[in-house]
């Protein structure tokens, strides 16, 4: 459980869609030990507005000691992040959380929606680097072409050959949900390990499909977080069956076996 608090310099800032940004941050200690599925808690600015850090998945790690985060401008915190320029600094805590278990059986399918794509890129890279799975399929969904195209190309450049895309408005790939792609492309009989991250309803549906097919399914969840380091107990989510203690996303997760959690 090596964790660091560090002042990271913004090495590069990319605006990859109207409201989607990617920051490359110099954070050698974090880059040195991060695993796919882990996250960082980010503070864009001293002061109290906003007060709390914001959690972001680690999108990419480079051997030169940089990490990347990919995010959507939604509210105060992300608006400040989007204003940062190369050379400025921001305060990072990480890497946090458990990360994905790369040893799922059978073929591997990564299913990402919206900003849930962020951690899957790092995951895909690790799968390819360690050449673990017999087959790696990636299915990505977003609202529009604009939101998806840059990152989708990154997956291609990485060497993901089996890549399917879906957009809500049909401007890129399948006109509809990534779920449709799963239904079409994943034979029931095959053994799959599904790794998914995205909007809650999407993950719920993915988890349900996996359950029905008896596929292993890892989900990366989001909740409100105050600390990210297991100190506030604010990030509780209910267990499957709603009994026993709550799970804590920052410590027990953010990656869970889909069967562990209650899908409300």
């Amino acid at each position: 459980m090596t964790q660091y608090q560090t002042l990271a310099e913004v090495v590069k800032k990319e605006q990859i869609a109207a409201d989607i940004f990617r920051l490359t941050l110099r954070a050698p200690e974090i880059a040195g030990c991060a695993r796919p599925g882990q996250f960082v808690m980010v503070r864009a600015m001293a002061g109290i507005d906003p007060l709390l850090r914001r959690p972001f998945s680690i999108h990419q790690v480079s051997s030169e000691g940089n990490i990347q985060i990919l995010f959507k401008r939604l509210g105060k915190g992300t608006t400040l992040l989007a204003r940062l320029e190369a050379g400025e600094q921001l305060d990072l805590v990480g890497p946090l959380g458990n990360g994905f278990d790369l040893n799922g059986p059978g073929k591997v399918c990564l299913v990402g929606g919206g900003m849930g794509i962020a951690p899957l890129y790092f995951l895909a890279r690790e799968f390819l680097r360690q050449s673990i799975p017999p087959r790696l399929t990636v299915m990505l969904g977003a609202r529009t072409r604009e939101e998806l195209v840059t990152v989708a190309n990154d997956f291609k450049d990485l060497g993901v050959n089996d890549l399917s895309l879906a957009t809500d408005d049909g401007t890129l790939g399948h006109h509809g949900l990534v779920l449709d792609l799963m239904g079409r492309q994943m034979a029931r009989e095959d053994q799959w390990s599904v790794y998914t991250c995205g909007p809650h309803p999407m993950m719920k549906a993915v988890a349900e499909m996996a359950r029905q097919n008896e596929w292993l399914c890892s989900v990366s969840l989001e909740t409100m977080m105050a600390c990210g380091i297991s100190a506030c107990l604010g990030c509780a989510i209910p267990r499957a069956g709603l009994n026993g203690n709550y799970l804590h996303v920052c410590k027990d997760g953010p990656v869970f076996d889909a069967g562990e959690v209650a899908w409300l």
């Binding site: 459980m1 090596t2 964790q3 660091y4 608090q5 503070r43 109290i48 507005d49 906003p50 007060l51 709390l52 850090r53 305060d91 805590v93 909740t223 409100m224 977080m225 105050a226 600390c227 380091i229 297991s230 100190a231 506030c232 107990l233 604010g234 990030c235 509780a236 989510i237 209910p238 026993g244 203690n245 709550y246």
Partner: protein
């Protein structure tokens, strides 16, 4: 004359703390969570997450929401229970080399006295902090801390079973906090700590639902500092026992305000989430302030407000 190393140690009951900077219950886990970020040995003490007789699962989510300069929490006192705390968490805490204070909570006087008994004999626990902001089940859920009589009764229940100093942690949701503080002093408390959170609420106007599943929650963070400081000043002027100041302390400057107002020590809460190394920075900042102000000892600062 330049002061190299001003004396930082303070005393509460008959125990001394290497410096006045403690952690606030429920914001520092069981200490270990902060090992990567803080030299724990440097802290005056660690107040652990509130412990009850039996484990508690806490409230359903959402449990937290950010507000202007603060946050609301309705964790619901989730904790592992006193037995698992002693068995699983104390070994690590004993090894740190700083004071450990156990924060306790209950539904009844019996709960509190049983907890005091269990905790007070355990090696490595230096003091008990009694959270009296909890509902008294027998009195229809009115918080112990909002009634002077009940507050005194809890204090007596704990003191009668405790061999170590007892700090009673006061609720700010009262008309006259000095009345509660005096009742608790009369009940035998060795110190009071304040404030716990202010009761607050937030609504999501899109879903038209409360932002906390529990509807209401406790407000903490910089937003509450002025209220906390006022109460600490009032209580420090009303009781003879030491006062521990809590509420929105984020920087050494904040901590010094509380010390000037009469606090013997302070606890850092929400700031630990914002900056996990806040406590250590505050210790260093207080030391620097003393040096810059040519004070040899922290006691020259405590209560030094000039009216």
């Amino acid at each position: 004359m330049a002061v190299d190393k001003p004396g930082l140690s303070v005393k509460i009951g008959d125990i001394s703390f290497k410096n006045p900077v403690l952690t606030a219950s429920g914001t520092f886990g069981y200490g270990r969570e902060f090992e990567p970020f803080v030299n724990l040995h440097r802290l005056g003490g660690i107040v652990v997450k509130g412990i009850s007789l039996e484990p508690r699962r806490g409230n359903p989510p959402p449990r937290i929401v950010e507000t202007a300069g603060g946050m609301l929490n309705a964790i619901g006192l989730e904790n592992v229970g006193v037995q698992r705390f002693i068995d699983e968490k104390m070994d690590y805490l004993r090894g740190i080399g700083t004071r450990v204070i156990v924060n306790i909570l209950g539904d009844s006087l019996d709960d509190y006295s049983l907890l005091a008994e269990k905790v007070s004999g355990v090696a490595g626990i230096s003091a008990i902090e009694v959270n009296i902001s909890c509902p008294n089940v027998k009195k229809g859920g009115v918080a112990f801390g909002t009634d002077a009589g009940m507050a005194r009764a809890v204090t007596e229940a704990v003191c009668s079973k405790s061999a170590i100093p007892v700090i009673v942690k006061l609720s700010p949701n009262v008309t006259d906090i000095t009345a509660i503080a005096k009742a608790v002093e009369d009940g035998g408390a060795h110190a009071v700590s304040l404030i716990n959170t202010l009761l607050g609420m937030a609504i999501d106007i899109r879903s038209k639902r409360p932002r906390l599943a529990n509807v209401v929650g406790g407000l903490s963070g910089p937003a509450i500092k002025p209220v906390a400081l006022r109460m600490v000043w009032q209580v420090a002027n009303a009781v003879k026992i030491p006062v521990i100041g809590i509420g929105g302390i984020t920087t050494a400057e904040d901590a010094i305000e509380f010390l000037l107002a009469g606090a013997t020590a302070i606890e850092v809460g929400t700031a630990n989430f914002v900056d996990p190394s806040a406590t250590e920075k505050i210790v260093n900042g207080i030391e620097q302030y003393l040096i810059a102000n040519k004070m040899e000892n922290i006691n020259q600062l405590i209560g030094g407000l000039r009216i």
